[in-house]
C-alpha cells in the first residue's frame, strides 16, 4: 500500500532534497574542473550575505526573480506554461521607457514615475495577452508562442534601441538617460535619511513593490473569486464552463496578470539602476523565474525563498568569478539548470524512496502487531 506523505515532507523535505541533489551534482562538476567545492560554497555564501553590501545586491537580484517567478506561478495555476517572461519584461521595460522619455521634459519626476510604473505593467501584460489570446481563441500552444514572442521582443528591442530610440551621438544601443529623479530611491539613501548608514547597493523601492506583489498574488489566487476560477481552469476546463465561466476569458486574463508581473521586473533594472532603456537588461531573469516558480511550488512564500536563493547565487556567483581562476559566472547558470532539472523535471524522482523510508519508519515506531 502506498502511504500518503505528510505535508511537511511534500512541501518541505522533498524540495530540499531536490535542491541538495542539484548542488551535489554542481559540487561534483566543480571538483572535476579541479576546485574545492566546499571552498567555492563558502565564497558563495560570504559573497552573497557577508561581504560589505553583499546582502543589498542579493536582495536586488532577488527582486527580479520575485517578479518573474510570480509571473510564471500565476500562469501555472491556470495550467499555462508561460515561458515568455523574458520577452514580457523587455516589452514592459520598453513601455516604461517610452513613457519616461515622452513625459520627463513635461512633468515633475515623481509624477513620471507614477505613470511609468503602470506602463510597465500594461506593456508586459500586452505581450502576455497576445499568446494568451492565441491559445484561448486559436488553439496555438502557449509554450511555443511564448518562445517565439521572446525572440520577437528581442528583435523589436534591437530594432528600436539601435534605431529610433537610440540616444543621439551614442554608439551603443540604448536610449538617452531619463531626467534626474525619474528613478526609484535606493535603500541606502532612504536609510541614511533615518541616520542609518549601510553599504551602497542597487537595492531600491522595487523590492518593496515585489513584496507587495507577493501578498497581492496570494490574495488573488487563494482569496478571490477570480483566483478560484483561475485555479479551477487549471484543474478542469469543463467544470469552469459548467460553472458559467469562459475558460478563454480566464486564460487571457491570467496571461495579462502574468505578463504584467513580468513587466514589473523592468522597474528594478531600469528605474532602480539604469535610468534609461538598455539592450538585454533582462539578461535571462525571465527564464530564471521558471526555476523560481518550480522551486517555490507556485506559492508566494516559496517564491520569496527561492528568489533569495537565486539572488544569493547570482551575487555569490560574481564573487566566485573573482576569487577562483577556473570558475566563471556561468557556473551559476549551470546550477540554475540543475535546479530546474531536479526541482522541475525530476521533481518526483525521490518520492518513492522517501515514501519507503517514511513508511518503514512509521511501521518501526509502531512496532510489530
Amino acid at each position: 500500500m502506498e502511504q500518503k506523505l505528510p505535508r511537511w515532507i511534500d512541501i518541505g523535505l522533498l524540495p530540499l532534497i531536490n535542491i541538495l541533489a542539484a548542488f551535489f551534482v554542481a559540487g561534483i562538476i566543480i571538483a572535476v574542473i579541479g576546485e574545492n567545492p566546499f571552498a567555492a560554497l563558502s565564497v558563495l555564501v560570504k559573497g552573497a550575505f557577508i561581504y560589505k553590501g553583499a546582502l543589498g545586491y542579493t536582495l536586488f537580484y532577488a527582486t527580479n526573480f520575485i517578479f518573474t517567478g510570480l509571473a510564471v506561478a500565476v500562469a501555472f495555476h491556470a495550467s499555462l506554461f508561460n515561458i515568455g517572461g523574458e520577452g514580457q519584461a523587455m516589452v514592459g521595460g520598453l513601455g516604461l521607457g517610452l513613457v519616461a522619455l515622452m513625459l520627463d521634459p513635461l512633468l515633475p519626476p515623481l509624477l513620471v514615475v507614477f505613470i511609468a510604473l503602470p506602463a510597465a505593467v500594461v506593456f508586459g501584460a500586452f505581450w502576455g495577452v497576445i499568446p494568451g489570446w492565441l491559445q484561448a481563441k486559436r488553439g496555438s500552444h502557449i509554450v511555443i508562442t511564448t518562445i517565439m514572442f521572446n525572440f520577437i521582443a528581442a528583435s523589436l528591442m534591437v530594432w528600436l534601441l539601435a534605431g529610433m530610440l537610440m540616444a543621439p551621438g551614442q554608439m551603443s544601443p540604448e536610449t538617452r538617460s531619463f531626467a534626474d529623479g525619474v528613478a526609484l530611491a535606493h535603500f541606502h539613501t532612504l536609510l541614511s535619511y533615518g541616520g542609518i548608514s549601510v553599504a551602497k547597493s542597487p537595492l531600491n523601492l522595487s523590492f518593496v513593490i515585489a513584496l507587495i506583489a507577493c501578498v497581492a498574488v496570494w490574495v488573488l489566487i487563494w482569496r478571490t473569486r477570480l483566483g478560484y476560477v483561475i485555479r479551477a481552469t487549471g484543474q478542469s476546463e469543463q467544470a469552469v464552463i459548467y460553472a458559467g465561466h469562459s475558460p478563454a476569458k480566464i486564460i487571457i486574463i491570467t496571461m495579462a496578470i502574468s505578463g504584467g508581473l513580468a513587466g514589473l521586473m523592468a522597474l528594478n533594472e531600469i528605474l532602480g539602476v539604469q535610468q534609461r532603456v538598455i539592450l538585454n537588461f533582462t539578461s535571462g531573469y525571465g527564464f530564471t523565474g521558471i526555476a523560481v516558480a518550480l522551486m517555490g511550488r507556485n506559492h508566494p512564500i516559496g517564491i520569496l525563498l527561492a528568489s533569495l536563493l537565486f539572488g544569493a547565487l547570482y551575487q555569490g556567483g560574481a564573487e566566485l568569478d573573482f576569487e577562483f581562476q577556473t570558475i566563471t559566472r556561468e557556473m551559476v547558470l549551470m546550477i540554475q539548470g540543475l535546479i530546474i532539472l531536479f526541482s522541475g523535471a525530476l521533481a518526483y524522482m525521490f518520492n518513492p524512496l522517501v515514501t519507503r523510508v517514511f513508511s518503514s519508519f512509521i511501521s518501526a515506531s509502531k512496532g510489530p502487531e
Binding site: 486559436r138 518562445i147 517565439m148 577556473t326 556561468e330 539548470g337
Partner: protein
C-alpha cells in the same frame, strides 16, 4: 549586370545551404522526438553541448572525426537524460528541455574555461582538425557546355560543389527520416506511440522503449548539428554559438507540420532569410531603400506564430504529444 545579379543570387543560394544545414539536422531530430510524443525544446541545448564537445575533442586530439563522434555521444547522453526525466519519471517535458538548455549554456562555458582558459572558447581549429569542403569533379566539363555552360557551371561549382560532408549528411538525413518514418514498421510504431500509445501498448510493444529510441535518434542528429557548427562550418566553439538556431529548427518543424520534406523546405526558407539578411546589411535597394536585417531575421518566429494561430494553413501536432504514458494495470 545580369551576370553579376545571377552570381549574387547563386552565392545567396550557397549561403542558404550552409545556414540551413544545422536547422535541417535539428528539425529532423525534432520530428523523431515529437512524432513519438516527446516535446523537445532542448534541440538548442543539445546542439550547443555537442558543438562544444566536437570542438574540444578536435582541438585536443586533432581529429574532426573524433570530434563528431564525441558530439554525438554527448548529445545522446543528454537525450537520455531528457528521456529519463520525461519517460521514466513522467516529468514535464518542457521543463526538462528548458533545464537542458540552461544547463548547456552554463556547462559549455564552465568546462571550456577550465580546459582552455580562453574565456569559454576553444582554440581555433586548423584545416586538418575540421571537415573541409569537398570539391566535386566535372566542374570544368559542365562549365564548357555550350550555351547553358557558364550559368550551370556557377550553380554547380558554387551551390552544389564545395560543401563539407556534414552538409551532404543533413540532406541524407531528410531522406532517411522520411523512409524510416513512413516506410518501415519501426516508423509506423514510432508514429503510433505519438498518436495513440495505448494502441501500441495493446499490440505488445513497449511505449517507453519506443520513445527512448526516438529521443536517442534525436540525440544523434543534434550531435551532428553541433559538430557542423564548430568543426565544419566554423573553426572552433564560441559561447552561445547556436544563437537560437535550435528554436528556429523547432519553428521549422512546426512550419513543416512534422513532415520531413515540408520541414526541409521550411529550413531552407529560414536559412535563405538568414543568408539574405547577412547580404542586405547596409545595402541600399532600389525603390525600398535599406531593409532592416532585424526585421528579416525575426520573420521565422512571426511566420510560425501566424501559422500556429491557423491564419494560414494549420499546424497539427501529434495527438499524444507532451503526455506521459501511464500503463494501465
Amino acid at each position: 549586370m545580369m551576370a553579376e545579379l545571377w552570381l549574387q543570387f547563386v552565392l545567396a543560394l550557397d549561403a542558404t545551404i550552409r545556414m540551413s544545414t544545422p536547422l535541417i539536422f535539428c528539425a529532423m531530430a525534432g520530428i523523431f522526438s515529437e512524432r513519438s510524443g516527446i516535446i523537445d525544446i532542448s534541440l538548442e541545448g543539445k546542439m550547443l553541448l555537442s558543438a562544444f564537445a566536437a570542438a574540444s575533442l578536435a582541438a585536443l586530439t586533432g581529429s574532426a572525426m573524433i570530434g563528431l563522434v564525441g558530439a554525438i555521444i554527448i548529445s545522446v547522453l543528454f537525450s537520455l537524460l531528457h528521456g529519463f526525466a520525461c519517460i521514466t519519471h513522467k516529468g514535464n517535458q518542457v521543463v526538462s528541455g528548458l533545464a537542458i538548455n540552461i544547463l548547456a549554456s552554463g556547462l559549455t562555458v564552465t568546462i571550456g574555461f577550465a580546459i582552455f582558459s580562453q574565456g569559454g572558447q576553444t582554440p581555433f581549429l586548423g584545416r586538418e582538425q575540421r571537415f573541409m569542403p569537398l570539391e566535386l569533379p566535372f566542374i570544368e566539363v559542365i562549365e564548357s557546355l555550350p550555351i547553358i555552360g557558364p550559368s550551370l557551371g556557377v550553380i554547380y561549382s558554387e551551390v552544389i560543389s564545395g560543401h563539407n560532408i556534414l552538409v551532404w549528411l543533413a540532406f541524407l538525413a531528410v531522406i532517411v527520416t522520411g523512409y524510416v518514418l513512413f516506410r518501415t514498421t519501426f516508423g509506423l510504431r514510432l508514429r503510433a506511440v505519438g498518436e495513440k500509445p495505448e494502441a501500441v501498448d495493446t499490440a505488445g510493444v513497449s511505449v517507453s522503449w519506443m520513445r527512448y529510441k526516438a529521443v536517442i535518434i534525436a540525440g544523434i542528429l543534434c550531435g551532428m548539428a553541433g559538430a557542423y557548427l564548430s568543426v565544419a562550418h566554423g573553426g572552433g566553439f564560441v559561447r552561445e554559438m547556436t544563437a537560437g538556431k535550435g528554436y528556429i529548427a523547432l519553428a521549422a518543424m512546426i512550419f513543416g507540420n512534422w513532415r520531413p520534406v515540408p520541414v526541409l523546405l521550411a529550413c531552407l526558407m529560414f536559412g535563405f532569410l538568414e543568408a539574405i539578411a547577412a547580404r542586405l546589411q547596409g545595402v541600399d535597394l532600389p525603390v525600398i531603400g535599406q531593409v532592416s536585417t532585424d526585421l528579416i531575421l525575426v520573420l521565422p518566429y512571426v511566420l510560425t506564430v501566424i501559422l500556429l494561430a491557423g491564419f494560414v494553413g494549420k499546424a497539427v501536432p501529434p495527438r499524444a504529444i507532451g503526455v506521459p504514458y501511464a500503463k494501465e494495470r
